[in-house]
Homo-oligomer: 369 residues x 2
């Protein structure tokens, strides 16, 4: 294998796949990245077997070939290389690569590429495409609600449903729930009903967007694939049935308020400073023409008045301050509608002028006096 | 106490003194900052008794007064405040302050200002002034060599000597040594020979510079003071005699080389990637017209050739890679002179065209085969 490329091309390809690699994987070869040169293309692959990321870039090839190099060294080394043409050279049968730059060279021991696990081939399945930016923005609106509790794997994923031409993304950790709908341009051949690991989707968010180019999603029996021109992300699906969630969304409310998202968010974050070392809940009081955010602790007290339009009955309710901040940040709207059915029932947050998103937040118990 | 100011003024004053405060000080009041309003000035003080920082800013005063507020809450709170006029209000005899911004307010419990320790008054002593930028740049050139080993306190400080109108700053951790000289405009009334804690000088570096304004240094029996228009830094001196250091600086050399600082620094840093998980030493080979930086480990090997002018005998020597990087970074010069008297003797690094700085670095043992 022998090819020449630039520092920025290498850094891009390695940076793209890096998050899929565990530098201290129990299977040593998986702590490396696979480099494969075919024609004028270098394909770099990183994988932890659950999640695989592949990035293809153009290089100047002298000989085709492949090798696996430890991510721990190659990633930092590339970052420190000078901005000159960089040549990778692996002798046939060798498991080390010499990297030549200017008058200097470094040699890194790697692994035999034949030992690298075979990656899932793109399965047949339902497929659809949408603009990368749109997907990224929608994923951000639900990913905050994904659970990190590995004992209930189904909640560590996002439900992706396509019915007709309607895409729906749902996440919940049972304390909050986020639902995003989107109208696709085309209708996949089959319906989709799959649960994708949150970790995978965080990578999709990191690696896509900043472009109106499309991303294609193919959903098979056990795997989902995200494909762009240079990028291929493959992930195992989470097995199991996603619990019914629609019935927990309140259909009515007794109090509704319209607030400026930024004002209520900033008030919540200041209040959360006073509770960060104790029970992290903050009171929200809906009264005529305003929502008051307040709490009293050993540190002191805070009282923030955010003006807004309040319909219905006055109401006091407590929320976990961090959960409320995250829900507010995910709204993606300057104005929000907060709908309540009582002090002990879930609140519904919606962007003020957007029908396709809502999130739900359970109230918290008030602190003991 | 009642005054009004802006978020940026508060953030500046609190950010300035913050590093002198231990948020979890065993003496609770020292986990706070002292706010004192006299006339139209707010003076904020933070201290851990060893190091005290005071910052004075202009505010709109309604009533004079003072209070101590916990740094843990006040610093973050100010960061989250909106950009509107901010009023602090403490009732007489109260140990809490209400902060009023727009239609909102927060109240923070504090401590009685009378309980706050008395700070060292500026002592009589030798004093001199120099531009802030000059002081900051010189301190950066020696601080990297300060020891962090508290069992030998004298090495955790920087020796500051003024003889006639010559200022000299010296630091060593016994593995490396840095000496910076500077010609003052004026001659202090007395000679100075004091050891100032490295922690104090790191704060001086952080808080000064970016300006040609002068800073005044007053050195008393037990304390040193750094004074600018808005800032007062007071620090205890380290007791004890600084060991004689001049005798360890080699007067002659058998090999001398001139190198581009950036090239040898980058080569050293790339080589250090290969040794970061083992014995962290790298070989430097001085040969005709170049210095080769190389090392071989279980990870692989590296060989970097940095061209330069070499006078004298060829020579191989090993250095701790991190120490070499730090010494090279401190040079502040595009070109350097590296002087060697043998593989087992200290190397001298100097800026190529600057007489007033040198650093010394002991060689390391080669790794075992």
């Amino acid at each position: 294998m022998k090819f020449t490329t630039s520092k920025s091309t290498l850094a891009y390809a390695i940076g793209t796949v890096q998050k899929a690699v565990s530098p201290r994987s129990p299977l040593p070869i998986l702590s490396g990245i696979l480099l494969e040169v075919h024609g004028d293309q270098l394909t770099v692959t990183g994988s932890d077997t659950e999640l695989t990321i592949q990035c293809t870039v153009n290089v100047e090839t002298e000989n085709e070939g492949s090798i696996v190099l430890p991510i721990r060294y190659i990633a930092d080394l590339v970052r420190y290389l000078p901005d000159v043409p960089i040549q990778f050279h692996t002798l046939p049968e060798s498991t080390s690569t010499t990297i030549i730059y200017g008058t200097s060279q470094v040699n890194i021991h790697g692994f035999e590429p034949e030992q690298y696990p075979r990656l899932p081939a793109v399965e047949k399945g339902a497929s659809f495409s949408l603009p990368q930016d749109a997907l990224r923005d929608m994923l951000r609106q639900v990913l905050f609600a994904v659970s990190t509790d590995e004992t209930r794997p189904i909640f560590t994923g996002v439900l992706m449903q396509v019915t007709g031409s309607q895409l729906r993304l749902v996440a919940t950790d049972t304390y909050r729930l986020a639902v995003r709908r989107f109208q696709l341009d085309q209708e996949p051949e089959q319906q989709i009903n799959a649960v994708i690991p949150g970790k995978t989707l965080n990578e999709v968010v990191r690696l896509t967007g900043g472009t109106e180019d499309e991303i294609t999603i193919i959903c098979g029996e056990n795997h989902v694939f995200f494909l762009t021109g240079t990028l291929k992300i493959a992930s195992r699906l989470i097995a199991g049935q996603y619990p019914p969630y629609e019935q927990v969304i309140p259909r009515e409310f007794i109090t509704r308020t319209r607030l400026a998202t930024r004002e209520i968010l900033e008030a919540t974050e200041r209040a959360s400073l006073l509770v960060r070392e104790g029970y992290p809940v903050v009171q929200f009081t809906l009264q005529e023409n305003s929502c008051v955010v307040s709490v009293q602790t050993q540190v002191g007290w805070i009282r923030e008045e955010v003006s807004g339009v309040v319909e219905g009955e006055p109401l006091e309710i407590w929320f976990n301050a961090r959960y409320m901040s995250e829900s507010l940040r995910a709204l993606g709207s300057e104005e929000l509608s907060l709908e309540l059915t009582g002090s002990l029932s879930a609140a519904v947050l919606r962007p003020a002028r957007e029908e396709n998103y809502l999130s739900l937040l359970l109230p918290a118990k008030p602190p003991k006096e």
